[in-house]
């Protein structure tokens, strides 16, 4: 599994389309809003891209409150089982929402918290993680092709 993260409007999805030569029109590309895709929905696809992981975190909080965290880890585990099958490749795209002012609304505070924890869980499971900065990838984990790692980049 490959996790692609970064701030809003940083070109994350665009980078995935270019890196994998995989269009957003493809049936394996899911733009997440309030429905959590099941691995049955991935049937027939070799590459599956789930864009907007933060939206399902929010959806689950509105539905289930605190217990959303438990559900998220079950969902991730089922996605990982799909990813481990031969020829399957899962790409998750998530927007970092954790660097701003503490939100006024309790549900938005919980959203930020669970989103941060869930992203950490995803990174632990991922083979490769890239942080996208206005279209430029920084490799946080694993091996990439043709770009510098964060460490090499900081001079």
């Amino acid at each position: 599994m490959h996790f692609v993260a970064g701030g809003a409007f940083h070109g994350k999805a665009k980078w995935v389309t270019e890196t994998y030569k995989f269009s957003r029109e493809n049936k394996g590309w899911f733009v997440l809003k309030d429905v959590i895709p099941d691995t049955d929905d991935f049937y027939g696809a070799k590459i599956v891209v789930l864009e907007g992981i933060e939206h399902i975190v929010r959806t689950l909080i509105l539905e289930k409150g605190e217990s959303a965290r438990e559900t998220l880890s079950q969902v991730l585990a089922s996605w990982m089982i799909w990813d481990e099958s031969k020829d399957h490749h899962l790409i998750l795209i998530g927007t970092d929402i954790g660097k701003g002012i503490v939100p006024m609304e309790q549900e938005n505070r919980m959203w930020r918290d669970l989103n941060g924890w869930f992203f950490q869980d995803i990174v632990r499971m991922a083979d490769r993680v890239d942080l996208i900065w206005y279209g430029i990838p920084q490799l946080l984990k694993g091996k990439g092709e043709g770009h510098e790692t964060v460490y090499e980049n900081r001079r």
Binding site: G7, A8, P103, R112, Y134, I136
Partner: protein, 199 residues
Amino acid sequence: MLIFVTGGVRSGKSTYAEQVVSRLASDDRTAYYVATSNHIDHEMRMRIQKHQNDRERDPLNWITFEQPRNLHELAVSFQPGDVVLIDCLTNLLNNELFDGWEMNANWWISPLFRKKMYEKILKGINELMKTGINLVIVSNEVFFDPISVNEDGTYYFIELLGKLHQAIVKKADIACLVENGTPMFMKRSSRHADRTAIR
């Protein structure tokens, strides 16, 4: 050459950008400062005054242009090799996107208007670059709050700023994120490395 400098509020991005300008400026020590804010309130005036005072202590001879909108109009003012600092892109976008707000114009609601403003700003940058100047653009990091679910003015502002950052970084020779006064180079062509390195 195009250099993009971004960072959070009070990250030291303007100070760093001015150091870059000072390194690029030729022997006559003249540099151009493009101020983009519509200085409307007292607080903004104080911030501008602080930046002006800082620049007065600078050995560089700064020439200031007040250009809150219509960046392309400045293209006639520069010669090849001039060093120009735009501070900052966020004010410019704000003034273009919310132009006419005092009269409740609300043009920003139209997708076509937003697209036009995005293209207008990029075209302005392109026209300045065509004059052969060295251009340093300062902008601001505003992308890490939970994005508003409602597509209001703030949402569109952040969306356009993100898209502008992507387009400018793509064009830039050097792009850096300033954290606490220290530039982190995200993009740098080795050809220019020695001229901009701070240490």
